[in-house]
């Protein structure tokens, strides 16, 4: 699964001008949305002194590192080094860029160059993300009747389609829920599912 897409949250939870931490497999990422709405996902490390870019700040179409204010454009290239305002940063200073797209309200990340298709979630609408303090096995146990296709679990809730996009983070699982039916109903059902999965850990 070298180039697979990994869900990293819902579009609704990453507003304009905000950066958040994410992950692709073992790699830690900074995922951010520019003022105009462009999404980017990079290795969570400023090339200058290794500071996490997810602690940085967004100004317009750039993400700046919080340590020395080095600014990077949406292509990952460093556009400004505040310690040397007159200098054009060398092209070699570049964040490590991942592919980052959103579809049906889900933010997806894959390594640059990957040409794997995105899972098809058409017709579904994003509900919310939850973090379950359990492993993948306990989550699977709490989803009787659901069918797993890669990172997506599909099932029904009172006749309406539900899809859970699962992001395995080792000791915990992030679940991004989508559905066709009543969002409040899906949300309440999620709470129950989480409790079941977390009780599974204790049992």
């Amino acid at each position: 699964m070298s180039g697979m897409w990994v869900a990293n949250g819902l579009s609704q939870d990453l507003p304009l001008g905000v950066v958040m931490a994410g992950a692709w497999q073992g790699a830690e990422l900074a995922i951010w949305r520019s003022a105009s709405g462009r999404l980017s996902a990079w290795n969570d490390r400023c090339p200058h002194r290794g500071m996490r870019l997810s602690h940085g700040f967004v100004r317009g179409e750039t993400l700046s590192c919080i340590y020395h204010g080095w600014a990077y454009g949406t292509d990952g290239a460093c556009s400004k080094i505040p310690a040397h305002p007159a200098m054009v940063p060398p092209a070699a200073i570049k964040a490590e860029v991942y592919q980052c797209v959103e579809a049906e309200g889900v933010i997806w990340v894959a390594p640059a160059g990957s040409d794997v298709d995105l899972p098809d979630l058409s017709g579904l609408a994003a509900v919310r993300s939850v973090t379950v303090q359990a492993g993948l096995a306990e989550v699977a146990h709490a989803l009787p009747g659901f069918v797993c296709e890669g990172a997506v679990w599909r099932g029904q809730l009172d006749g309406a389609a539900v899809a859970l996009v699962v992001q395995d983070r080792g000791a915990l699982v992030r679940i991004h829920a989508l559905g066709t039916g009543d969002r409040v109903k899906v949300s309440r059902w999620l709470d129950g599912m989480m409790r079941l999965a977390e009780q599974g850990v204790l049992a």
């Binding site: 830690e28 969570d44 490390r45 090339p47 200058h48 002194r49 290794g50 500071m51 996490r52 602690h55 700046s64 919080i66 340590y67 020395h68 204010g69 080094i81 505040p82 310690a83 040397h84 305002p85 200098m87 070699a92 200073i93």
Partner: protein, 281 residues
């Protein structure tokens, strides 16, 4: 295996004023348990096997050498200068390499972003050319003629000024800076950070000051330094990797980083690699 060159250096392990009788301060040095305590009026640093380490008491702190001291502890002549107030600022525990903590202390370009509106502020972000040398006589790294605009350079500063700095790496985990003194233009304020390497990725930072400032209450001076170092901690605990990379290529410096470049080169040349990453991962 810890290189002998590392073992033969001096490291801060306690504040003199806080050392009490056994069991005293139970702590670590270079990954080994040590205890610092008073015995018959003497301060003792004892290793896990009961061995006694070489001890020097200086600059408000207890310094220990786990090997055979290669030299005396570095001098800070200003510590004995009449009229200066010596201030022990306590300790900040930081989950980072002791070398990263020192390197951050040598860095000015972060002031506007990490110590915003105190030690720096946008748009005054430029770091002009300054001079760096590894002094062969004292075997220290020095940076001189460093200038930077600061909104509130010290507790005693009323407004923004251009501060001149000199930086000095006096030991692998100890550095001293000299900065324009707001109260006495012909003298320098002296601030040290003494870093205790608990392990390669965990340290305790002891700031220390020798100032011309008769008016600011002690608590305010300490609170100011603590605020600065807590802001630095938010950076230091989020650098990847935690160890300081000594091989070029892993991180990209610019002209503003000349002091850091010299510090890394000096560490590598002397084999002071505890807390360093040698092979690019």
């Amino acid at each position: 295996m810890i290189p002998q060159a590392v073992l033969n250096e001096w490291y801060p392990v306690a504040m003199i004023a806080l050392v009490g009788p056994r069991p005293g301060r139970q702590t670590q040095l270079l990954g080994s348990d040590i205890a610092v305590f008073l015995e018959d009026g003497q301060i003792v640093v004892q290793g896990a096997k009961g061995q006694r380490l070489a001890v020097t008491l200086r600059y408000g702190h207890v310094w220990a050498c786990p090997g055979t001291p290669a030299h005396d502890l570095f001098p800070i002549p200003e510590a004995d200068q009449p009229g200066r107030r010596l201030v022990d600022c306590g300790v900040v525990r930081v989950k980072c390499s002791p070398l990263r903590a020192v390197e951050n202390f040598l860095d000015i370009a972060h002031f506007p972003f990490v110590h915003t509106d105190v030690l720096g502020a946008e748009p005054h972000t430029e770091v002009g050319r300054y001079e760096v040398q590894i002094r062969e006589d004292s075997d220290e790294v020095w940076a001189t003629k460093v200038h930077f605009y600061q909104p509130q350079a010290a507790k005693s500063a009323a407004g923004g000024i251009v501060t001149e700095y000199m930086y000095r790496v006096a030991a692998p985990t100890a550095a001293v800076l000299y900065k324009t003194c707001p109260n006495q233009p012909d003298a320098w304020d002296v601030i040290g950070i003494f870093v205790q390497p608990l392990t390669e990725e965990f340290c305790e930072v002891w700031p220390w000051m020798a100032l011309f400032d008769d008016t600011t209450p002690q608590a305010d001076l300490i609170q100011f330094q603590q605020m600065i170092f807590l802001q630095d901690r938010s950076i230091l605990e989020n650098q990847i990797p935690r160890l300081l990379p000594l091989d070029p290529g892993k991180e990209i410096p610019t002209q503003a980083d000349l002091t850091s470049i010299a510090y890394r080169r000096w560490l590598k040349r002397k084999g002071l690699t505890y807390g360093a990453q040698m092979v690019a991962a």
